[in-house]
Amino acid sequence: MRIVTALVALGLALVPPTARAQHLLVPMDDEQTNHLKAYGLTYNALHDGARGEWLLNYRGGSFLLPDTPELRRRAALDGITTQPIDDATLADIRNQMSQANMESVPLEKAPRIAVYTAPYSPPWDDAVILALRYAGIPYTPIWDDEIEHGDLAKYDWVHLFHEDFTGQLGKFYIAYSGASWFVDMQRTNMAMAKKLGFPNIPALKKDIAMKIREYVNNGGFLFAMCGATETLDLALAAHGVDIASVFADGTPMDPNADAKMDWNASFAFRDAQLEMSPYVNSMSDIDGHQANVPGRRQPLGTFTLFAFSAKFDPVPSMLVQDHRTVIPDFYGVTTSFMKNRLKPGVTVLADEAGAPWVKYIHGDYGKGSWTFLGGHDPEDPQHAIGNPPTDLSLHPNSPGYRLILNNVLFPAAKKKPLKT
């Protein structure tokens, strides 16, 4: 016995402290010191040709990567918690997962990412760009001319932020018509519309919306936040109707616009009532919170992520991987989506208990899929124009930002045939 102990001790002493195991587990529960950077570590591992696994529901949705000196180095630099594990430990983990609502999803290829953003937009005003930059995930900014020239096909995943696809520039003219930034925005958009052969901004944005829908139909992954969610669907449904106020296109809205909307053309919503007044900063009754309409503004609560079967519903499961299930809500131009405006078949990923609205939705369209998340910035709940940008190094464990990064990574997952 004494000899065995001595041999074990000797054996341990001979193993160098930095000896490599076979695998690197990136836990995503409360032991993780930097959840957001962990997504970047995984993305870049795939980008460099490595394979990985997403261990759905295992310790907050952990990642499994090969144990290489380079990945260890990157993790150390970014303060990401990793745990080297050997085959035996991994076998134990797999056994544990097989007996619970957990599943391993292979991650094969880093998706090519584009972010639809206007050239005048500062990078720090977009939660997705903030997340991508902080996590170290590369992306390509695109705007109307790239889309009109067919560039969407070059990307696996496209993000839309608070663009107003109704072409009314967020109705900001109500409060900011004299502000220099608004004048610049209007001038730049009008110039782009003319350059691309459209008579006005609403006409251009409608066409962009249709090209985005075509992209999803052909197999693209779309992720939209804030006002882009609502206005994209409004623009799609309004393909034959004037829903832009007079200040945007020189003609008033069609007074019968509500009745003429074609909801077969939209992704997520149906039967919405448009806001007819050009002086009310709201597009429709899709948004439950109406943050910019004083008399209608609803207070913020919390939203709860739904639990899905990791084995049978891996896609929604991936989208809700988080170390928290209840998350503080945050305002945006569009903060939430009224339940009575959702199309049948839309998957609700998160809602607010007792409220008539939901926060986070997903659906398939053609060969692709779309995901909408309401709100502007998960770590700046009251976000107002002129607020300082969010510094994610102060929020490395943000559960709200994890939802964004789940969306970035989920196109990397190898599609497996569903078990049902």
């Binding site: 303060g79 720090w124 902080y134 170290g136 502000a179 930034w181 503004r297 510094d391 190094s393």
Partner: protein, 570 residues
Amino acid sequence: MRINRKAVALVVVAALGMGAPVASAQSGDTVSAAYLRGQDLETRDQYDSAAAAYRQALAQTPTSLTAMLGLERVYAQLGRSDSLLPLLDSAIARQPRLTALRAAQMRTLRSLGDRAGMQRAYERWRHDVPHDSAPYQEYARMLIEDGYTAQADTVLQEGESDAGGGRGFAYEVAQLDAAMGKWEPSARAWRQAVADNSYLADAAVFALFPTPMATRDAVRRALAAPPVSTPPLKVLGALELAWGAPREGWTALHVLRPDSATLVAWVDFARRAEQANAWLVARDALVAADQADPTPGYLVRAANDALAGGDAAGAASLAARAETDLDSAAAATTALPVHLRALSTLGRPADGAKLLAAYAGVLSSDEQAQYARLLAWGWVRVGDLDHARQALAASGGGDDAASGWIALYQGDLAGARSQLHAQGDPAGDVLAVIALLDRTRATKSAPLGNAYLTLARGDTAAAAADFAAAAPALSDAGSLLIATSARLYTAHGDAPQAIAAWKTIVDSLPQSPEAPEADLEWARILRRTKQTPEAIARLEHLIITYPESALVPQARRELELARQTVPSTS
């Protein structure tokens, strides 16, 4: 909670008491026994009984404003504000022009969340008192506070149309524009509001402070536009201070024609600048104030500010000017101390000694000893340790710190260690010296003493070289001496020499406690000189090589900024 509520009630009661003559004049109010009983019960948190007493007071005098306001307070505590409304309705019917009653009605409806009721009350009010600005102002302020900016805008437009002219609404318009992020129009409205009511200056600064960087120039132009006047420039001066640009604040203010209002603005600006540690700007404002209204007190303050801001020569000159305007006894206690400190800092202890001798007749022995110690430091600064010792002796000795420093300058490390340790609560530079002395077991080192003496004389570059030269002979503190050398080179703006010193530590002394700091400071210099990839390499080296170092979080922060993965303005 109980104490706070009572305190608030007392303050309110006190405020009402102070305002009672006005209320009485307006309402014909008389203070009844029932009202006084209600007041007493309210301060004892007996709100039910207080409400009964106030109601009784109102029954006796239905127009009693003080009783009505008392009832408003206690009903709010009891959650029965709705019970006040019928009483207010009948009181308003009797006295439709009494603003305080109307305002109480609006407040009560607001506390009940009855926005439609507020709108109706506002409409009735404007109907009952045409051409009076009060209903518009009161309602607009509430709407702004509650975030109903568009509605507030409508109300103010109605006010400007019905009550005539926009000037009366400048304050509300300014608040509204600020709430809507219309910074330039808000600044223009504030300009008008503070011109009419200078007490609004602080409110203007508070409202305009959040102006985004890109819009600040427009705000500056609005406040400084001709014709220049004191109130808006006073706001601009305070804003610049709040925005971290004190010099610009003084640049804006100094153009004012000196008069009594300007003088108050300049002295107030100096006070704010002192609070913001903008010493030299405060100095300039006080010198200008003295020119407008010669006052030795301004000059003494200006001298102290000059010295705090590193302008010892200016401090000496200002103190000397103050001395000429003061009698000897007053000068000895106000201008003389700062004058002596300035001369000591300038390395002119001989001049200081002459000055001190001139005041000998009006100084007590304790004051003379205290000032002699000041001069001892001046002698040290010029490297005349003999005179320093003499000055210390003249001060009666007993200054362990000064004796310790002198021992250090002479290379007597053991003596310095013992005397500096004897200080009860060492701070700042003393602490840094003790840390170094405790790193080595050497008892003597002339090169180290010389390095500190050179530093005391203010020759930073030579001191940096001396510290590096002292390192080889004191190997147990070698890395700390090189690090000190590097810090001094950095302070002197000599980036190449600083990098060379940090590099020595990184390459040759990687196990030393200063090694992580060397990486970090090296990286910071590289970032400042736009050598970003090299800076990133250094920061990565620190994080990977010294993962347990307390500097790793700072290094990660610097790394984020260098990689531009987080906004640099945060």
